[in-house]
């Protein structure tokens, strides 16, 4: 497979990307509910968090691809993996359409 250090870094990246990406989504979603950062307009909150959310997403996609490459055959037949990828696709689709319009991002 390769050095265990590389595996560690890829897995750590995947966890960090998760924290950054979903953490950002949580904060913006809570702002939509009017629970946090209420003194900032929604579009500003979404705008501030976007770069880091994007960084998190890129980190996720990169490390995810690398992880998949090491287990591709096994995961291809995995039910949960299929569910995960479907939800990921839907989440990205939702983000780049409805979500963007709601937060007023260009």
């Amino acid at each position: 497979m390769g050095s265990t250090w590389l595996v560690s870094i890829v897995e750590l990246s995947h966890l960090l990307g998760l924290t950054i990406l979903v953490g950002s989504v949580v904060v913006v979603s809570l702002r939509m509910f009017g629970v946090v950062m209420t003194r900032m307009p929604l579009s500003e909150v979404a705008g501030e968090l976007w770069n880091w959310a994007l960084f998190g997403l890129i980190l996720q996609l990169t490390s995810g691809v690398l992880l998949f490459m090491s287990e591709a055959v096994r995961w291809y037949h995995s039910g949960p993996f299929l569910v995960k990828m479907t939800c990921l696709f839907l989440a990205l689709l939702f983000h780049f359409t409805i979500y963007r319009r709601v937060t007023g991002r260009k």
Binding site: S8, L12, T19, G23, L30, M37, R39, E48, L49, W52
Partner: protein, 139 residues
């Protein structure tokens, strides 16, 4: 049961550390510079605390299930040390740096001490997450 608790532990990372990171970014003067530091803290604190409550509860349960094996695990020890460092960092910030917050609350770029606290926090949590992931492999 164990896989569910583990899954919740990982997912709650996003609510706990994921939210804390945003306060650290404000301390670093990188994000939400238009908002007062104390305001960002006040708004994110409840979410952060809820997240950490879940983390420590699930973490405690995970440890309880595997205590003997965790104790000797080097990654578990690294994780605990990093957790303690993160806690000490927060304590030092709240007991000293935060005392002068009235002077720099609205400043886009907080003083060096605040920025260091933010940076150290992020580094500690990266170590916690990295070591945490490796615990399972050494059990």
């Amino acid at each position: 049961m164990y896989p569910i608790i583990l899954a919740v532990h990982v997912l709650a990372l996003t609510i706990s550390v994921g939210t804390l990171v945003w306060f650290d970014l404000r301390l670093l003067g990188i994000k939400m510079r238009s908002q007062r530091v104390s305001e960002v803290y006040r708004q994110l604190m409840p979410v952060m605390l809820s997240g950490f409550f879940v983390m420590f509860t699930t973490g405690g349960l995970l440890f309880w299930a595997l205590a003997a094996k965790c104790y000797g695990n080097v990654y578990f020890r690294i994780k605990l040390i990093a957790l303690m460092l993160a806690a000490v960092n927060a304590l030092v910030y709240h007991l000293t740096t935060e005392r002068t917050i009235a002077q720099w609350d609205a400043a886009p770029l907080p003083p060096v001490r605040a920025r260091l606290a933010g940076l150290f926090s992020i580094v500690c949590w990266i170590v916690v997450i990295g070591a945490g992931r490796r615990i399972v492999l050494g059990l």
